[in-house]
Amino acid sequence: MTTNTTTFDIPTEPYGKVGTWWFLASEIPTFGAILVAYIVMRLGSTGWTEASHHLNFNIALINTFILLTSSMTIVMAHGAAQDRDFKRAANFLGLTVVLGLGFLGMKAFEYSTEISHGFLPSSGMFWSFYYAMTGLHGLHVVAGIIINLVLWIQATKGTLAHHIHRVELAGLYWHFVDIVWIFLFPLLYLA
């Protein structure tokens, strides 16, 4: 007697990708809460526009170009890793790290200028929000740089071949950090 068994291929997403998206989902309320609080407080108050005029717009604009460009370079790194061209992947990962460091360097210079002019987190509600939002974002940039640096080391040593998907996951995180800045820039510097 023979029995016929039927097997089904259940389509599933890779665990790493789902896990990364879960993590990003937890980040959305984190940044969302502070952005919403900023928006409603600013709409209900006066004097915030004047305070924002003390920010260094030019540095923020350059940082916007830097971060958007780094999003492009990490996509290129992922593409190169998929092609198993690890030298090219390493180059683009390294460029992403350099751009991230450039962003932090510019931000540090901006902070130092503002602090030297007496604008501290305690200088008013606008400044409290400004340092909280950009500081939280900056910490995420630091984390992204560390992740990309680890991948760069793996790519240069040739050990990335077994973990190509990690470049995609790191990219997802890096793009999320980029999207947060896409909203921080107009909220702080253009509004």
């Binding site: 990708k17 709409l43 896409i182 253009l190």
Partner: protein, 93 residues
């Protein structure tokens, strides 16, 4: 990564750069209310360009959309809920 994919990645990057310039131009040229409308519309477009193309959302399954959109919906509900309290009860800066 095919040449077409590389070209698309670069095209998206050009668009992002151009949209930043549009935002900055709007803040200089347009009256405040119109400028803010355009600036935040452009910000949403930029975020969608990054999410759909660089984060590959346009190729993802419904489960990924659900994971991303549910917390976003909560944030929007939070914004709508908080809005009247603060906007109609002005506070000091």
């Amino acid at each position: 990564m095919s040449n077409a994919q590389t070209r698309q990645t670069l095209v998206i990057w050009y668009w992002l750069m151009a949209l930043v310039i549009v935002s900055v131009g709007a803040s200089v040229v347009l009256p405040k209310a119109e400028a803010l409308m355009l600036i935040f519309t452009v910000a949403v477009i930029k975020a969608l360009l990054v999410a759909r193309n660089y984060m590959h959302l346009k190729h993802e399954k419904a489960i990924i959309y659900a994971i991303a959109l549910v917390p976003l919906a909560f944030v929007i509900i939070f914004l709508i809920g908080m809005f009247p309290d603060f906007v109609y009860h002005a506070t000091k800066p």
